[in-house]
Amino acid sequence: MVDVTHLASPFTIPLTLVSVKRNRNAPQTRAGEEDGPPETFGPVTLTRHTKDDARALILYSRRQPDGDGNPDGDGDPHGDRDLDGHGDPDGDRDRTIEDWPT
């Protein structure tokens, strides 16, 4: 068992990768380091990663809650309530019109 990165993104959590026997077509990739800090794009935040086969991976998360306490639709109303990573559980503390790219 290889404990890998603690990810800076507020929308992802530390993970543990386990070396297991793969099926023939299983992707031969693991998480790479984040390629820089999270970026914002309108209501979403994105974190860029490079997989160890050099392919790019981007994770996107919505920066505001759904309003029903279940921000990511996974049945966990609390798992990532801090959607914009600013310690603001509402996730839209600093969302202004200037944040919307045109």
């Binding site: 993970l15 992707p27 997989k51 991976l57 996107y60 309003g67 921000p71 990511d72 639709g73 996974d74």
Partner: protein, 315 residues
Amino acid sequence: MSDRSGAHSPDGWAGQRYAELRGEQVVYAIDRQQRTFLPAAEHCPLCPTLPGGEPTEIPFERFQIAVFENRFPAFRSPRGAAEVVVYTDSHTGSFGTLQRERAQALMWVWRHRYLELGARADVEYVLIFENRGVEVGVTLHHPHGQIYAYPFLPPVPALELAADERLGGCAPCDLLGRELDDGRRVVYENEDVVIYVPYAARWAYEAHVVMRAHRPSLLECEPGELDALADGLQALVRGYDALFERPFPYVMAVHQAPSDGHARGHLHVELYPPLRTAEKLKYLAGSEQGAGTFISDTLPEESAPALRAAIVRAA
């Protein structure tokens, strides 16, 4: 004979060849023969990687929306790009069952990818699309779409630009006006989006999701328009599923301006469902393939009311 293929590259891209008789490019991505084909759920490469589980394309335990470069690309830098857009970390469901806010966020992901890929020098056209159902060739059931960034302008957007020339302005704007004036084929409207079965639909339940305002691409849309687009798309695909009370296969293609900086085109999403009844598929056969002329056995004026009612039922 025009052949720009070059050698078979290590990434499986064997080039593109110009088919003179049809006036179109054919792309050879031969490694795609090896791509994962309908794996069991426990081997799904689009699921998150769980502790003790098999490694997947997304080595995180949870995520909302993920985009990564396709392992079996039809296009690859420096000749375009091919990406996979995973809508959710849940293996089950569909675009239609996404939470509303997730679908709205997906519009921003599309916009972001269109912006970044379209800015590349090796990309002339960005196509965001989803294939749903084995009937249209899906090889992975996990809810996802794809993006192809073409190093050339493909025939369909080229024809749309030609239609602009022919009609003396924005063709989708003109056609939207005609559909609204007629009204018989309109199946859904909200403040910013109109959906209709087009006058000359090729598929029985083909639908065009069109922005009311002239927006060449996702980049020109106001935030509320993107939300309205997501709402319209979800209403439509939920209606599709309600139509025959079964998962409804389709190809969904986002039509936008080519990435040449001229902002020509009109953002709209076209859906091509192959079902003509609950059990019968429309096949591309002799006339469609040999002559390029679709033969349809359903009038749009007859399929539109059924689809409209299904959208209402599913709401």
